[in-house]
């Protein structure tokens, strides 16, 4: 079938203004949107710029706004985005656009790095593994799935308007350790998230949960972190 892909193009080397360009490509209903973007780039206009790597939804490179929703281009099939109409593709919102669909990921990774996203322990290390029950392991399983694609953070209306908010992903990143029975850094991490730009900015709109290509219950994780803060003492 023939599909029209409408892409928000931006290249400051050429023009300061972004503009929509439409491209016709042939695609199978079961092709990924990424395949259609590749067809544009490889056959029609080599200057179209986007990030991608694994092409099956595990590396987190190709989050973009497709028909107004944050998705991974490699995990979205043409048949699922109403291909009888033009499919609109634009960069994720809330991060500076560098060129076409490529945004500056540094503010996003800065937020992640700021929540101490690593295991904190004290005392001597055991010679063998630390023990952890299956139940304790299960407690934080959901948030270990995160691939840092930024789909959640850049779907959050608070993140769009508040330049300081950590955003959902950073809270997910903190959650993964706060609820890990082996971790001893919870107090420090919660203190960071108790900041005025921390978890309390969340307005529970559930955009993040809907956007997550890994099916993480992001809003629930944020609620659990809020509750941990309230009941901490």
């Amino acid at each position: 079938m023939d599909v029209t892909v409408k892409i928000l193009r931006y290249n400051p080397e050429v023009s300061e203004d972004a503009s929509w360009e439409s491209y016709q490509v042939s695609a199978e209903p079961t092709d990924r949107v990424l395949d259609a973007l590749h067809k544009v780039k490889w056959d029609l206009d080599g200057s179209l710029t986007f990030r991608r790597s694994c092409a099956h939804g595990v590396c987190g490179s190709d989050a973009m706004r497709i028909n107004g929703k944050n998705r991974l281009a490699c995990k979205t099939l043409i048949k699922d985005v109403n291909p009888s109409q033009p499919i609109s593709v634009e960069p994720i919102k809330g991060l500076p656009v560098l060129k076409d669909l490529v945004v500056d990921m540094e503010p996003f990774f800065d937020a992640y790095r700021s929540v101490m996203p690593f295991l904190v322990t004290s005392g001597n290390e055991p010679t063998r593994e630390r023990l952890q029950s299956q139940t304790d392991r299960e407690r934080f399983d959901d948030t270990t799935k995160c691939i840092l694609c930024a789909a959640c953070t850049t779907s959050c209306p608070v993140y769009w308007t508040d330049g300081q908010y950590f955003g959902p992903q950073a809270i997910v990143g903190a959650h993964r350790f706060i609820f890990d029975s082996r971790d001893e850094g919870t107090d420090q991490r919660l203190e960071i998230l108790n900041d005025k730009e921390g978890v309390w900015r969340c307005r529970t709109t559930f955009n993040c949960t809907e956007a997550c290509p890994r099916g993480i219950e992001v809003t629930k994780a944020i609620q659990e972190v809020k509750r941990a803060l309230i009941f901490r003492r």
Binding site: P12, W42, C54, H56, C59, K75, L77, R128, E129
Partner: protein, 586 residues
Amino acid sequence: MVQTHKYDVVIVGAGGAGMRAALEAGQRTRTAVLTKLYPTRSHTGAAQGGMCAALANVEEDNWEWHTFDTVKGGDYLVDQDAAEVMAKEAIDAVLDLEKMGLPFNRTEEGRIDQRRFGGHTRNHGEAAVRRSCFAADRTGHMILQTLYQQCIKHNVEFYNEFYVLDLLTKETPGGTKATGVVAYELATGEIHVFKAKAIIFATGGFGKVFRTTSNAHTLTGDGMGIVWRKGLPLEDMEFFQFHPTGLAGLGVLLSEAARGEGGILRNSENERFMERYAPTIKDLAPRDMVARAMANEVREGRGAGPDKAYVYLDLTHLPKEQIDAKLPDITEFARTYLGVEPYTEMIPVFPTAHYAMGGIPTNIKGEALRDNETVVPGLYAAGEVACVSVHGANRLGTNSLLDINVFGRRAGIYAAEYAATAEFEELPEAPEQLVVDQIEMLRDAGGSERVAAIRAELQATMDINAQVYRDEGSLKQALSDIEGLQARYVNISVQDKGKRFNTDLLEAIELGFLLDLAEVLVVSALARNESRGGHYREDYPHRDDVNFMRHTMAYREKTEEGAGHRIRLDYKPVVQTRYEPMERKY
């Protein structure tokens, strides 16, 4: 404008091997990590099934059995001293990751859980053994995330989206020495020279020479290609692993863990055909044997589907809870991309190009070699880009996640130790010149050839002629196709002439590496007149230990006329310690 930087150790690539090396080198000396992606985008994250180590948490096991399985699985082309190092250090490598926070699945006692995996057996082949330590079916993802988290903790310095395009070397009385790298900054198009005492290549594989592959778009063999163009050798490049269970038509990986958990391969007659090919361990035979068996079923008319082009992976007899707990990602891939529900339907699968056993030859310290023995001072390699050789002619499942941890760590330690006493070397005048010329040539070229067209033709000929089954005729066809494409490559045109995020240019450069490496693969394969591991020659269907129990060493040499290049093949003995080669039966 060229910017110059100076570090004791520069690591190229930020997947598992690169970041594991960075954690060691970074705590010992001034270290930078350069990656053409963001670290968490690296393809380590796509690995699924696990990482083997003889922890013996759930049943009797020991590292000697693991060593034997690795040697036998590699069809005896494995260097046995290296395999022993890997199997021994595996135990600490897993425990180290747990201490870093990796969320392994647990046993009822709270210890790291283990499951079966292809070719891993108890007591030298008696039965499958539970050796693979895992986190659901996203073990690679958890390793990549955990290592990145540790890099954050230890303030490892990253240069993200810096594409390394050249290795700087200097001729000294002690031989060729590595002195730095030249990188292209994607965001700006600027050139950066990194002066270093030690350089570790950890850039992964080159699966994109094939059309059907589990590999990421970005796996274009850059590290191997750079070293190759410097006249340094590549080892055992004919040995490429085809993973049995790629999603049919797409190549997306479905972990061997599916069979470790009890999944069964079936042909169109619903027969569990692996019983005929490997009576003892059946579906858990090593990947080369399973991939060939699948391809053979299809060739003999027992393939399934409208074109009889694939076989089935059957999980329908497994409890839903087990699938959800142990195989959530791969079953979602089947649902997303093929619309198949694995609870109730069998999944169409076919072999997919997966892993390069060959690469930059190194010793067990990760030091790169310029011939069979001599080290290139200051140059290291680890992970898929390297050939130690722990995988020989066929890598066992899980041994790549192990390889990156064991040899990534080793390369990091030894590079830092070397840098502690080495001196910086003077760089030549304009060390960036080769890269500047290359980029200008590509960006300003006004040719008529499209990068995508040449790449598609390369991938097509490799899939047809150099895949699971090969023979002299098919390989010669592939070689002549590659030569034709190389000639056309000179006339490519890049449409994007800008400096900012020029991925059009990037893909053109990557294609150059792919063409080089495909040629090495095919030339090496043409000369190996035997079948061993992942290299199967229909015209020489048996292993020939008399003539070919040896590693291939390929060199790029200038022709007498000076303009062109040709490939010279040499050979290197296999290190044998404990195990005499036997016929491989499972």
